[in-house]
Structure formats: structure tokens, C-alpha cells
Amino acid sequence: MTTTTPDLNKKTKSEGRSLAQDATRRFFRHPTGLLGLGIVGFFIIASLLAPVLAPYDASRDRNLRLRLTPPSWSLPQAERDRLGLTMWSLPFGADQQGRDLFVRVWHGGRISLRVGLIAVAFASVTGVLLGLLAGYSGGWIDTLVVWLVDILLAFPGILLAIAIVAILGPNLTNALIAIAITQIPIYVRITRSVVLSLRESEYVQAAQALGSRGPRVVFSHIFPNSLSPIIVQLTLSVGVAILDVAALGFLGLGAQPPAPEWGAMIKAGYDKFLQAPYMSIFPGIAIFLSVVGFNLLGDAVRDVLDPRLKS
């Protein structure tokens, strides 16, 4: 998979424009991509600002008088006055301990995004290095790496993550490790396939003929050309990781109470579901929006970086 634009004449006309510049230009004409970027940007900025704008201590900030209060805007005026609320003072309602769900959902974004980004960063670095190593060296190293990847891929979806956390013990760090491990294979596969297709290409052979050794060939000649499929995968992976964090949280295998994690909040709401459906509705919407954001962004990045796919 190369990243050159197929229309070579066009490329020479717009001399001096790199792939990155080209892709950026295309990206800003991509409406759904911009929407995705907007959503992702919103969640990242909101998460960064959460401790500044709404300092929160999950174990302390509660108001038992407000236990299981529905969203304030849905209450009649008299009820709001009785509880001392304004129209928007409790927009998502309060949970069984009287905690403000809006603040909890807001802070929950910090957990999901952090775990998602760290897990994907770890998985991609490991996976790419393994893929480069396997593809370039071939032989038994390649066989071994492919075997390991096949084993990991034999555990569909979130199953391996569940198994790992169920056995290592449920907490957020183990959930992060488990999610990262399940995401490694895809990066190995992508990188390895690019390396295999480029290893025998003329420019790589030329570099070798000029005396470049293994690591130099891999990192300065092969790796840059495998970047675009990896970047696409990175964006899509974050969405998957956010869903996985939530699923583990829902199963009681991720963040533990009182941490405001979205999946665990949905689980808490599920247990109180007839009285307080809003307890699970809002964290779910937050997960959905953030994942849609990353998916829209990922699709757009794919369109932009691989012009051949765009028909």
C-alpha cells in the first residue's frame, strides 16, 4: 500500500505539496470528517477542562437529599423549588447516592479517553514494532510472530480482555492492559503486510545496495510508507477501546466504584432501572457520541489518506 497520489501529472503541478499538506486540504473539505473532529475535540477539551471547571471528588461529592432525583428540567416547578434546584442545576439527575450525574458523566470522559488513548498507543507501538520485525526479518521470527497473532485473534472481540481481567483481578489498570493486548494483532497485521509488499520493491533494494542496514531501511524507508493505514486504524481503534472499557466496566471488571466510569454507571443504572432510567441513559449517550466521533474521524482519515479508495 503506497501513499503516492495516482495522478502523477497533477502532483508535479502542485509542486512542493507534501502528502500531509495534501491530506489536510482534502480533510477540510470532508464534512463528516469535520463533524467527527468536532465531536472528538469537544470530548477531549471537556475532559481536560473538567477538573478546572467542575472539581469533583467521586467519594465525597454527594447530596443524600437528592437521591434518585430525575433530571431537573423534567421536574415540575414546585418540586424543583422544594429541592432547591433550578431548571438546569441537575441536568442529568442524581444517582442513588445523590451524586450529580452530569458531573459524573463529564468526569467519566476523562477515564474513557485516557484508557482508550493509552491502550491504543501501547497496542500500536508494540504491534507496529512486531510487524516491522516479523515482516523484515522473515524466517522463524516471522513464523513465531504470526503464530502469536493467530492465537490472539482466535479470541473474538472482547473475550480475551474479559478472560485476562477476570483472572488478573478487576481494576482499571488490568482492563487497560487487557484492551491493549486485544488490539495488538491488527497493528502487526497491517504493518507486516506493508513491509512484505515493500521489502522487494526497487527503492528498498536501492537503499540496501547503497549500504543501508536493516534498522535504517526499516525505519527510514519502509515505516514511513506504512503510516497511512496505521493512522486510519489508530483513529478507529480508540472508538473500539472506549466501547471495550465501558463493556468491562459494565461487567464489573473495569473501573471500580466510586470512580465515575461510563460502563460502571450504566450498570448502576441498570440495577435501578425501573425507578431511574436516566441513570443509564446519559452515560450511554456519552459513549455513543464519543465513539461516533472517532468513527467518523477514522472514516474521513481513510478517505483522505487513501485517495484510491475514493471513487
Binding site: W147, L148, D150, I151, A154, F155, P156, G157, I158, L159, L160, I162, A163, I164, A166, I167, L168, G169, G239, L243, A246, A247, F250, L251, G252, L253, G263, I266, G269, Y270, F273, L274, P277, S280, I281, P283, G284, I287, F288, V291, V292, N295, L296, D299, S311
Partner: protein, 352 residues
């Protein structure tokens, strides 16, 4: 073709070996001592040691060079926990539940039909809704309808499954009261002996259409929840595959010779576009089995997923281990079957 199948089957062996190695290693890194879990905090160290001996936990993990030196028999090198585990697994013995002593293989076999029925429902839902939606999107490419459908498909993979399940229950069970959301049959159904364990089918086989209908109603909500992700995938795949086929020469020829658009779409295009769709669905079977852990938990569906979930809560390691291994092996086998049938159906595929 036979050679190809054989080759693929042999190729499975290292992967199956790897799965067993991984699952075994995972269960041996448990921070807690199984003997402590089983006997409780107050057991004497002697009792614990006795139990460890009985469970074979005092044996070496992977290789036993000590036994070779002692007896001079090189085969005793394999006299270790891992190979006992493999030997037992090959004889269909995955151990017993820590707490209820139920045989894990028995338990899996008894619960598998429930999970299978749910998975098939999800797949059928995905195909019945997804293929027409994908075709409509392809035929209206670039128009508003296409955009809406594609955004719907993107949303489908962005929902947390368990959240969607809860919302479905809230709407259709709690508010509208249309559909049941707990278990597989109403408690009012009596005098029904399952046969295959798939209740819709069993109701028909036993001449009890009321049971089939009731079981079907119980399947709808969990089936939709579990089927959302494959649905989204089917819509996207059908659309792109249709666009691909619609651009082919033979489709243009068919149109040019004056065939009706409907005939061209249904007969010429769709039939050829379906192959990749079917493959994708086959390959998603395994993810459905693992997604069933979430769906079955929400709907109290007595399948493998719920069993594993309960085992996780109780820290019943043999069930977790057996369930995970079972799903992985099924997944690998189904993938192989999909691959083989693909090679069988599509003569363009070279195998060897």
C-alpha cells in the same frame, strides 16, 4: 480440494495448541491460591496442601526434568500440569466448577443451544434487515437516503450493546409491555420437554406451536440487541459490494438489452454481491458468541455467556477457563468452515 482442506486442518493444530497454552498459562497466574479459594481462610495449611496435591497443583507446570532423571524415562518429561490439562481436554474433560462441582463440559453443552439460538436470531435479523438496506443505499448512492442509512450503520457499531439492550427493555417491556425481556419462556408454560434445546424448533417438533411462539417473543429483544453490530456490518458490506457489482460490464449489458431494473438488481447484481456479505456474517459468528456475554447478562438468558459472567462474579476459574476456550475453538473452526465454503462456492479462488 481435499488436499487444501487437509492442509488447512493441519494448519489449525498450532493455533489450537497456542490457545490451550494461553488459557492454561492465564489460569496459572491467578493471584489467589485455588486451595485458599476452595477451602476458605480458616483451613489449616496441611488441608490446603493436601488439596493442592489432589488437584495436581504441586506438579511442575510445563516440563518435568526431575522425573526423567529419577526414572530414566524421557517421556516423563511431559509429566507436568500443562500436558495433563491437554490430555484431559482432548478427552472432553475441562474440570469441574470450584463451587458446584458441575462438570464444565456438561454445563457448556447444556447451555450452548440457548446461546446458539440467540446467535442465529441475531444473524437472521442482521441479514433480513441489512441486505435490503444495503441494496437501497447502493441504488440511491450519494442521495439523502444513502447518507441516512450509512449514518445509521455507523451508529450501529458505535452503541454499547448492553446499553442498547437496556433501552430496548425500557421501551418495549417496561413502557409498552409488548415483549418479554427475561429468560427464554414464560413461567406459565408447563409440560414442555425440550429436545434440541432450541425452543422455537423444539416447540414445532413437539407439536407445541404455543411454545415456539412464546420462545420467539423472548428472542426478539436480545436478538436485536446482539444483532445490531452485524446489522451495521451487513449494511456497509452489501452497499459496497453492490456498488462494485453494479459497475461491472455484465450488469451494463443486462440493462442495455432492456431488462427491467428490478430483474437486473435482483438476479444479476444482488446474487453476485452477496458472497462477501455471507462471508462477513460467518466471520462475525465468533464475535457474537463473545458479545453474548453482555447480551445474555442483561436479558438473563441462560446461555454460555451468562454462565461465564456468573462464574466471573463468583471467581469460579474452571468455568471461565472452559468457556473462554470453548468459544475460541468454536470461533477458529467456524472461520475455517467459512473459508472452505468460500473456496467451494467461488471458483475464481485459487487454493493449494
Amino acid at each position: 480440494m481435499t488436499r487444501y482442506i487437509l492442509k488447512r486442518l493441519i494448519g489449525l493444530i498450532p493455533v489450537l495448541f497456542g490457545i490451550s497454552l494461553l488459557v492454561f498459562t492465564l489460569t496459572r497466574v491467578i493471584p489467589a491460591d485455588p486451595a485458599l479459594l476452595l477451602l476458605g481462610e480458616r483451613a489449616t495449611p496441611e488441608a490446603r496442601d493436601l488439596l493442592r496435591e489432589k488437584l495436581g497443583l504441586n506438579e511442575p507446570l510445563f516440563l518435568n526434568p526431575g522425573a526423567v532423571l529419577e526414572t530414566g524415562n524421557p517421556f516423563r518429561l511431559l509429566d507436568a500440569q500443562y500436558f495433563q490439562f491437554i490430555g484431559n481436554a482432548l478427552r472432553g474433560d475441562l474440570g469441574q466448577s470450584f463451587f458446584t462441582q458441575i462438570d464444565v463440559v456438561d454445563g457448556l453443552a447444556r447451555r450452548f443451544p440457548a446461546t446458539f439460538e440467540l446467535t442465529i436470531t441475531a444473524i437472521l435479523f442482521a441479514l433480513i434487515v441489512g441486505i435490503p438496506a444495503g441494496v437501497i443505499a447502493a441504488l440511491n448512492r450519494g442521495r439523502a437516503l444513502d447518507t441516512v442509512l450509512m449514518f445509521g450503520a455507523l451508529s450501529g457499531v458505535s452503541f454499547p450493546v448492553f446499553w442498547l439492550a437496556i433501552i430496548l427493555i425500557y421501551i418495549f417491556t417496561v413502557n409498552l409491555g409488548w415483549l418479554p425481556s427475561i429468560g427464554r419462556l414464560d413461567v406459565s408454560i408447563r409440560g414442555f420437554e425440550p429436545l434440541t434445546g432450541m425452543y422455537v424448533l423444539d416447540g414445532l417438533l413437539r407439536g407445541r406451536p404455543d411454545v415456539s411462539w412464546n420462545a420467539f417473543k423472548h428472542l426478539i429483544l436480545p436478538g436485536i440487541a446482539l444483532g445490531t453490530i452485524p446489522l451495521a456490518i451487513v449494511v456497509r458490506m452489501t452497499r459496497s459490494s453492490m456498488l462494485d457489482v453494479l459497475g461491472q460490464d455484465y450488469v451494463r449489458t443486462a440493462r442495455a438489452k432492456g431488462l427491467m431494473r428490478r430483474v437486473v438488481v435482483n438476479k444479476h447484481a444482488l446474487r453476485n454481491a452477496l458472497l462477501p456479505v455471507v462471508t462477513v456474517v460467518g466471520l462475525s459468528f465468533g464475535s457474537l458468541l463473545s458479545g453474548a456475554i453482555l447480551t445474555e447478562t442483561v436479558f438473563t438468558w441462560p446461555g454460555i455467556g451468562k454462565w461465564v459472567y456468573d462464574a466471573i462474579q463468583a471467581r469460579d476459574y474452571p468455568i471461565i477457563q472452559g468457556g473462554v476456550m470453548f468459544v475460541a475453538v468454536i470461533f477458529v473452526l467456524v472461520n475455517l468452515l467459512v473459508d472452505l465454503s468460500y473456496a467451494l462456492i467461488d471458483p475464481r479462488i485459487q487454493y493449494g
